[in-house]
């Protein structure tokens, strides 16, 4: 019996927008087990990205508690959450979010640097191996602006996996890509996920894609349902 790696209890999130209180999440609870892959679905504006931000500790819930890897991140401060992120979490975003002033290789070594791993020679070896795995050997010194969207997302994948994170969050990783490229990225994502045994939280609008995950959560009107 595997352990729960993320547990969410009665989480709400509301924001003040134009002087109105807007409740985005209205009391959500669920658990995610170690090594699981889980898809989060829902209409646009349902609150998927908001939920992911909370799960990853990028933001704080209005109420309720979130426990991640045995730490109650909903009661931790910014700095402590950042530490957890650097140690155990990887991200892939819809709009890639690479650092524009760093080369592909440097973008990949960056998370190791942030972790305090200063052996740059070793870091680069690791990064090169990953870039090769995502099919970008020879493009190490290119800047993000010199890469196509698909190539940028592959760099982002390499960056996400380089620290062998326990959990990988992916927010519509293929939203900005054409079908063929998207397929490619998804294959890579699942391949690396299985290889490293990472827990995967994937936000997507694509039902086909969601099917490849072990579970699917659907966010609707601030509530979440497990789809069976």
């Amino acid at each position: 019996m595997s352990q729960s790696i993320i547990s969410v209890e009665n989480v709400t999130k509301s924001v003040i927008s134009n002087d109105n209180q807007l409740s985005i999440l209205k009391g959500i609870s669920f658990n995610i087990m170690e090594g699981e892959s889980i898809a989060i679905m829902g209409t646009s504006g349902a609150g998927k990205s908001t939920l992911m931000g909370l799960l990853a500790g990028l933001d704080q819930p209005t109420s309720g508690s979130i426990t991640l890897l045995d730490s109650t991140i909903s009661s931790m401060d910014d700095e402590q959450r950042a530490k957890i992120r650097s140690e155990s979490i990887g991200f892939v975003f819809q709009n890639f979010l690479l650092i524009p002033s760093l080369t592909a290789l440097q973008n990949v070594t960056l998370p190791m640097l942030l972790r305090g791993n200063e052996d740059q020679k070793n870091n680069e070896l690791k990064a090169k191996a990953l870039l090769e795995k995502v099919g970008l050997s020879g493009r190490e010194t290119h800047l993000p602006t010199q890469l196509s969207g698909g190539e940028q997302q592959r760099v982002a994948l390499a960056r996400a996996f380089v620290t062998q994170p326990k959990i990988l969050f992916a927010d519509e990783p293929t939203g900005n890509l054409d079908q063929q490229t998207a397929q490619n990225i998804i294959e890579l994502l699942f391949a690396m996920n299985t290889e490293q045994g990472t827990t995967l939280v994937l936000i997507t609008h694509d039902a086909e894609l969601a099917k490849r995950c072990q579970r699917t959560l659907i966010i609707n009107d601030g509530q979440c349902q497990e789809s069976v």
Partner: protein, 804 residues
């Protein structure tokens, strides 16, 4: 270790791609300015204090226009003080082939009482005193006269053999126009030169050394006679005051440069923060701690400071060298080293400005929330780092607290900024009322849609344009005024010290050499002692710093008719025992027509009534006088005569002939002096141009930064237009029209403002005639539009780049 290397190279790239480089350039400019100015100021100050007493050649000096009385010397010696006397005058020195106007210092063997006198004789030995029958000349004089040590030179009527060369001497004057070389003779040879005669201009000094208390007692017991004054280390020399003025002008220019650089810095940083907050959010989402981010930003700041410091210091030293060129004759050859003080000072100033300008926005950057990678949030920035503003404010208060000028300039700039903003905006709204092509009216409506933003931009743009043109025009107006003194047909040789017996034959000789000459003028030296029977020494104006005429001897003359180049502004030239007074002096002394003035010449007193006031152009190099008397008032007083004439470059032999036949007559040959002045002006203009260029660079950098930033802000909006299907042509036309209008109106407003400020500066600041600069009215708007277009074309490609 290698990780640091990566962070450094990353930071370096961040500086360039993040467009932080203007920060670096601005810092460099600030450091260059501060290093240059403080190095120069320190050098000059050090030279001055180093030489302190050396400069005086004694602890205390009594200067007098009359020979020092032997009884005074006795008194001093009885009081236990050491004394030595000196007489100095200007006369002609002749070698076999050449001649030169020289300053003769006739001294005793005890000279100098303080400081060093190093004289090198034929056998290369160094002597320290001047003995009877010796003649020591400066190396420069030796080369002008084309003479060698051991040869004979005529000094007035005396013939002396050159004993050697002066290596070091005390009493150096800080006067850049003092180009007359020195020589030393012993006081026993003074008589033989024939230079001392009634009415000739010989100045005397009594050097005194002794215990400070004895000195003070002696000084306070002695009652100064007319024409005498004490000089000690504390008395401020005219040269020092001049230097102060120059320093003030420099400081003002540099303050402007620093101000513009500081604004560039702040704007660039703010822009950087807006641009990079996404990167920081990304780094945070990947788990970077604040500490890590802080060190990342610190690395960038450090790199910028270090590069700016290295480049800025070198630039500053170069600039200091340029500024120093005109002073080369008056500064000692081996300059005192200034140590690291200017560099520390530069670091201090750049930190004072740079830390708040960089850190306040950068600290904000640290507050960019990680969640921004998913959902843009409005962020409450902490105001914690605002205390950094205390740094420049404290520095300003500490250094300039009592300097009204600086505060006035700062306040003036602020008001000006507001006025300029209003003016340019008004101009644009006016334009908007007229009918224009589609692109232009679209542009105009864009500008008026965000009035606050547009006004800021306009004010900053016209403000910096104005500063740029001010810095440049003040420079060229100053130089132009100096240049004007040298008109092409003005008399260029002045003969003074002509004795009454020589006068007739001297004038005849000039005429027979066919040199065009002026009339001869009598010169009688004397002073004003009473105004309407009130002693001038009892009047408040006697002590006034600006009005020096009552405290010194002036040249009097008499004429039948006033010279036609003097315009009579009040009264008329008639009456017995009357005098005509120059109008500015008359104003300062509060004189009216019909006032009675009493004068003293050689302790002989006489009076005259004022019959007229005259306007005099002192720069014209024509013989001019403050007081011109009717003949009956002073004609029977002992006088020497002066005459001026013009000699062309190829008529030097005639001048030489004249000089040789009348060795006691002093020739002021302005032909060489004019060349000297010309080359000095060239040098000064070099250094001022160097400085002005820095100012213009700072200004253009600021304008460029401003425009690029403003255009970059547009990026999102333009992308939107593109997506909505606006044609490239349409967008670029609107942009060109909008920014062209912006530049044009800023240029026009800047030209008007610059003209007004320049007028005030020239009139009241430098006290020169103000003039209009029609060329600027066209050039400044043109320059503005050019800079605008240059910045626009440097970004427009990127702005219109198709979306991916």
């Amino acid at each position: 270790m290698k990780a640091n290397k990566m962070i450094i190279s990353w930071s370096w790239r961040e500086i360039w791609s993040g467009q932080l480089w203007p920060v670096m350039v601005a810092l460099t400019l600030i450091i260059a300015c501060v290093v240059a100015l403080s190095t120069l100021a320190l050098r000059v100050e050090k030279v001055m204090t180093n030489q302190g007493k050396t400069l005086l050649a004694a602890d205390l000096v009594l200067r007098s226009t009359n020979p020092i009385s032997p009884s005074l010397i006795n008194q001093a010696e009885e009081a236990g003080l050491t004394v030595s006397t000196q007489s100095r005058f200007q006369t002609m020195a002749f070698s076999d082939t050449k001649m030169q106007l020289v300053t003769v210092k006739s001294v005793e063997s005890t000279y100098p009482l303080r400081g060093v006198l190093n004289l090198r004789d034929e056998t290369e030995q160094i002597k320290h005193q001047v003995n009877p029958n010796e003649l020591w000349v400066s190396a420069r004089l030796l080369s002008i006269l084309e003479a060698k040590v051991g040869e004979t030179v005529a000094i007035g009527d005396a013939e002396l053999t050159i004993s050697g060369v002066i290596i070091d001497e005390p009493e150096l004057a800080y006067n850049p126009f003092n180009s007359i070389p020195n020589l030393f003779i012993h006081s026993s040879n003074l008589e033989g030169t024939g230079a001392i005669q009634l009415g000739s201009r010989v100045r005397h000094r009594l050097f005194i050394n002794g215990e400070p208390t004895t000195l003070a007692a002696f000084q306070s017991n002695y009652e100064l006679q007319a024409g005498e004054r004490w000089v000690d280390q504390n008395s401020e020399s005219r040269a020092a005051r001049l230097m102060d003025k120059a320093k003030q002008y420099l400081s003002l220019t540099i303050l402007m440069v620093i101000l513009m650089a500081a604004v560039t810095l702040i704007l660039t940083c703010l822009h950087y923060v807006r641009n990079r907050s996404e990167t920081v959010s990304m780094l945070k989402s990947m788990g970077s701690s604040r500490a890590w981010l802080r060190s990342w930003l610190t690395t960038q700041v450090l790199i910028m400071f270090v590069v700016a410091f290295v480049v800025g210091s070198s630039l500053g030293l170069l600039l200091e060298y340029l500024l120093r060129i005109p002073l080369v004759d008056i500064l000692p050859k081996v300059l005192p080293s200034v140590g690291i003080q200017p560099f520390l000072f530069a670091i201090g100033v750049s930190l004072c400005i740079g830390l708040p300008a960089l850190l306040i926005p950068l600290m904000r950057l640290l507050d960019a929330p990680a969640i921004n990678v998913i959902q843009k949030q409005t962020v409450q920035y902490s105001k914690k780092s605002w205390w950094l503003l205390l740094l420049p404010i404290t520095a300003l208060v500490v250094f300039y607290g009592s300097n009204k000028l600086v505060w006035m300039v700062l306040a003036g700039l602020l008001i000006l900024f507001i006025v300029l903003a209003g003016l340019s905006y008004g101009l644009l709204t006016l334009l908007a009322k007229l009918k224009w092509s589609a692109a232009l009216s679209l542009a105009l409506s864009r500008i008026s849609r965000s009035p606050k933003n547009s006004m800021m931009q306009l004010a900053a743009l016209s403000g910096s344009l104005m500063l740029v043109s001010l810095i440049w025009l003040v420079k060229s107006d100053l130089l132009g005024d100096w240049q004007q003194t040298l008109s092409p047909d003005a008399p260029n040789v002045f003969s003074i010290n002509i004795s009454p017996e020589q006068r007739a034959s001297y004038l005849q000789d000039i005429d027979s050499l066919t040199l065009p000459r002026s009339d001869a003028f009598a010169i009688i030296r004397g002073r004003v002692t009473e105004i309407n029977d009130i002693q001038t020494t009892d009047m408040a104006v006697y002590e006034s710093a600006e009005t020096r005429i009552l405290r010194r001897e002036v040249n009097f003359t008499w004429m039948d008719q006033l010279p036609e180049y003097n315009e009579v502004v009040a009264g008329q030239w008639s009456g017995e025992k009357t005098v005509s007074v120059e109008q500015n002096i008359a104003d300062e002394l509060g004189l009216k027509l019909g006032d009675k003035l009493t004068f003293e010449v050689n302790s002989q007193s006489f009076s005259a009534t004022i019959n007229s006031f005259r306007a005099v152009e002192w720069q014209s190099l024509k013989p001019n006088f403050v007081f011109i008397f009717s003949e009956d008032a002073i004609a029977d007083l002992p006088a020497t005569w002066m005459v001026s004439f013009r000699a062309e470059e190829n008529q030097t032999d005639r001048v030489t002939q004249l000089a040789r036949s009348y060795p006691t007559v002093t020739l002021l040959d302005l032909r060489t002096m004019a060349n000297k002045i010309q080359s000095l002006l060239r040098q000064i203009s070099w250094s001022l141009t160097g400085l002005a260029t820095l100012g213009v660079m700072a200004g253009i950098l600021l304008i460029f930064t401003l425009l690029r930033l403003s255009l970059n802000e547009r990026k999102r909006e333009i992308t939107l237009y593109r997506t909505l299907g606006a044609s490239k042509k349409r967008i670029s036309h609107t942009l060109w029209a909008e920014y062209g209008l912006l530049g044009l109106s800023a240029g026009i407003v800047a030209a008007i403002a610059a003209e007004m400020i320049l007028f005030a500066l020239m009139r009241w600041g430098f006290e020169l005639p103000a003039q209009l600069h029609p060329a600027m009215w066209f050039l400044l708007p043109l320059l503005a539009v050019l800079i605008v277009f240059a910045s626009l074309s440097s970004v427009i490609k990127a702005l219109l780049k198709p979306l991916r």
